[in-house]
């Protein structure tokens, strides 16, 4: 077992533990902290694959901005423990079946399609200069979608302001 594989298994276990903990925790703030663990582990996996810009964006935007927003809203609304009602019991059985079927389907597809699996590692040639290539690609081939996302962000900001605005009446 090489060192890369070892790091992969450590990070993968960490992310799965975080995801299971997200399901099991009863308090939303604990779920949010578990989700941060998943995101940091995924950022480590991106680094392992040589996608260092995506890893940095993952930490800054996901682990930083979005999760701070979540924690802020949890604090603002003073969210307490989840209450369980009997109506939700019915969703359990089809829910587990659905998730298992989904995982099995994806696993089968992967097993069938990647028999000639090419290996992914941090030793991709030119991996450390991928940020430069990424920015070149964004501002040449993907420049219109990139500009459109700025409109999307603007509209989202306006929508959030309109939604959260309290009228003094």
């Amino acid at each position: 077992m090489t060192a890369t594989l070892l790091v992969f298994f450590i990070l993968a276990t960490l992310s799965i533990i975080g995801a299971v903990s997200l399901i099991l925790q009863k308090h939303p703030i604990h779920s949010a902290l578990s989700l941060i663990v998943v995101m940091v582990a995924l950022a480590g996996l991106y680094l392992l694959m040589g996608a260092e810009f995506v890893a940095a964006v993952q930490i800054i935007v996901y682990g930083g901005a979005i999760m701070v927003l979540f924690v802020f809203v949890i604090m603002l609304l003073n969210a307490g423990l989840e209450e369980h009602t009997n109506e939700s019991k019915l969703a359990g059985f089809p829910g587990i079946l659905l998730a298992l079927a989904l995982m099995g389907f994806v696993a089968a597809t992967v097993a069938r399609s990647t028999t000639s699996a090419s290996a992914v590692g941090g030793t991709v040639p030119g991996a450390l200069s991928s940020t430069k290539q990424l920015s070149t690609l964004i501002f040449t081939n993907f420049v219109y979608p990139f500009e459109l996302t700025s409109f999307l962000i603007l509209i989202a900001i306006l929508g959030a302001i309109v939604l959260a605005h309290r009228e003094n009446s």
Binding site: A19, I23, A32, L35, V57, H84, L98, V120
Partner: protein, 100 residues
Amino acid sequence: MVPTSYYVLLSAILFGLGVLAFIFKRNIISIFMSIELMLNAVNLAFVAFSQANDKLDGQIFVLFVIIVAAAEAAVGLGIIILIARNRQSLNVERVDLLKL
């Protein structure tokens, strides 16, 4: 060197856990967080395939997904604040106005 299928399998497991959390959680904020978990799982698959094919397009899609997730979080949390203000509760079973 880690085979691509390992990354895709991890991505599938995380997505399945996200679906489970989406179904089992009753708190509207936790449900929203499980959506973020599913988005993260898809991002992992994108980066893995991008590296496997030695093309950077997948990583650019990941950046777009992150941008859309940020916009979604801003608007979605605004809606959650409105719901909590109107219903005095964060339980999704209290929000059943459209149910027959």
